[in-house]
């Protein structure tokens, strides 16, 4: 119950901030690009048969390669900045809330925004499908069978693979008063992680959290590595939440 009270307090703090609009705008980026692509380039012949499923799986896989990691790096870093920017850390910690509740309420608040991103992204992708259905009636897009379980599996894999990155950046966002450092670290590591998988295909990339999005996004890596990625990402999440909480406790006592 008290975690919910702390969560309510955290959600309230984001009112009137750009975080909500930023989430919606970031979630709309993929569907918008996809729509423009369909309008100007049309549908590739190879994909016409299964375009409905393609929109929900392949397109999300592309989103989870670039837009979602960037969104996570920024939102995880910027949300904890509310306290630094307003000089309110002491007031928060002097209120009758357990420190674990304050810490985890902030993390859950970020996860809620990530969920909002995914849901909005999928709804807008559905809107794309509806538009395409009427734009290209011959494709019968909405009449094509939708593989719901494959769609949810793709979404769940994308979320779980990026969970580690969100935990790492949440820790960095709480730790550093200057948000430039965590953002710079995130972008640099995301780039390195992507290149490592694309170019070298080294085995250790399975254990490098900034490479995980690549395994979800590209089919050629999925079958071989996805189980390891899911497990490793959850393990990293727990590890960095533990490190982050220790750091937070220590920081709040100094």
């Amino acid at each position: 119950m008290s975690l919910l009270i702390s969560l309510r307090s955290e959600v309230f703090k984001t009112k009137r901030t750009v975080s909500l609009y930023f989430t919606l705008a970031a979630a709309a980026f993929g569907p918008l690009m996809s729509m423009l692509d369909l309008i100007f380039d049309g549908v590739d012949k190879d994909h016409q048969k299964d375009i409905f499923n393609e929109m929900f799986t392949t397109k999300f896989q592309m989103t989870s390669a670039v837009v979602l990691p960037m969104f996570i790096i920024l939102i995880c870093t910027l949300l904890p900045q509310i306290e630094y920017k307003n000089n309110t850390w002491k007031q928060v910690l002097a209120s009758p809330q357990l420190k674990p509740n304050v810490f985890f309420a902030k993390f859950v608040n970020i996860q809620l925004l990530i969920f909002l991103f995914i849901v909005t992204n999928q709804l807008l992708m559905f809107a794309d499908a509806v538009i395409l259905h009427f734009m290209e009636p011959s494709l019968h897009v909405l009449n094509q069978p939708l593989n719901v379980s494959a769609m949810f599996a793709t979404l769940a894999n994308g979320y779980v693979a990026l969970l580690a990155m969100s935990a790492i950046h949440f820790w960095l966002g709480i730790r550093y008063k200057n948000f430039i450092i965590p953002v710079a670290i995130g972008i640099a590591f995301w780039f390195i992680g992507s290149i490592l998988v694309m170019q070298t295909k080294l085995l250790f990339t399975e254990y490098f959290p900034y490479s995980f999005h690549m395994f979800v996004s590209f089919k050629e890596f999925q079958l071989k590595h996805l189980n390891t990625i899911r497990f490793t990402s959850v393990a990293y999440t727990l590890l960095f939440l533990f490190i982050g909480f220790r750091d937070f406790r220590k920081k709040s006592m100094n």
Binding site: I5, K13, R16, K90, Q91, A94, S95, N254
Partner: protein
Amino acid sequence: MANAPVIKTTGLSYHYSKEAQTLFDINLHVEKGSIYGFLGPNGSGKTTTLSLLLGLLGNQQGDIEIFGQHLHSNRIDILKKIGSLVETPSLYAHLTAKENLEIYRTVYGASKERVNEVLKITGIEGTGQKTVKKFSLGMKQRLSIALALLPNPELLILDEPSNGLDPAGIIELRELIKRLNKDYGMTILISSHLLIEVEKMVSHVGIIFKGKMLFQGSLAELHLFEQKGSKLLVDTSDNEAALKLLQEHHPEWVGNTLALPLKDREQIACINRTLTQNNLDVYLLHPKENNLEQLFIDLTSTKS
């Protein structure tokens, strides 16, 4: 029960680094229903002490009891009954006054009516949709106090609340603090380096300097201390001769003039008579009474 301590610290010491000790053996005793002025110049250890009282810093040495309970084993229960203003302004600039209070309302278990009530008490009920970033410093300070009042606290801890306020704002704040103490029976611990300001509202005083408590007691005890410290400054045509004539008053040199412990007004007349009867011209007979400001300067400069 009137003298029951709301705050009691025993042998409280703290250091941020091993080389520099910040607090030495602080024994605070804040009585229920009192307004306790915690005084000291900047860097004397006031905020560190208050941070320890609110559990913002880990206790290294000594013991803290609030409402008769140990702070570190009952932190949440104790904090529910404390309103605090730790650092000002400590508000969310992108939100309105009401929204700032709403963030903490359920944390403190306060009702929606209480939000309107504290806004009214602090006189900022009419700010509507104006966000805090558009508030004046005085309004921000009032909102910070409204936030501290939200839980209807038994104890109010205010860290330098008059910082940055104009004279009118300081007077308003003083009246508000007095009213909260009188009408709502709140015990108030207020830290300040503005000594004249605090003198007009507190019932008890603690003076801290370089991490050590120099004085602690009621205002009456402080006035007694002041009286003891009052001096009469004397300057005559021959101060060497005056020194010999006034031996029974225990004079001492202060620069080129003499200073004597001052007991009462009659003593001044007696000294004047002694000097003139011995053909000394009296240029100066100045009773220098110790107000809190002077006492504070004397206490802190003697110890430095």
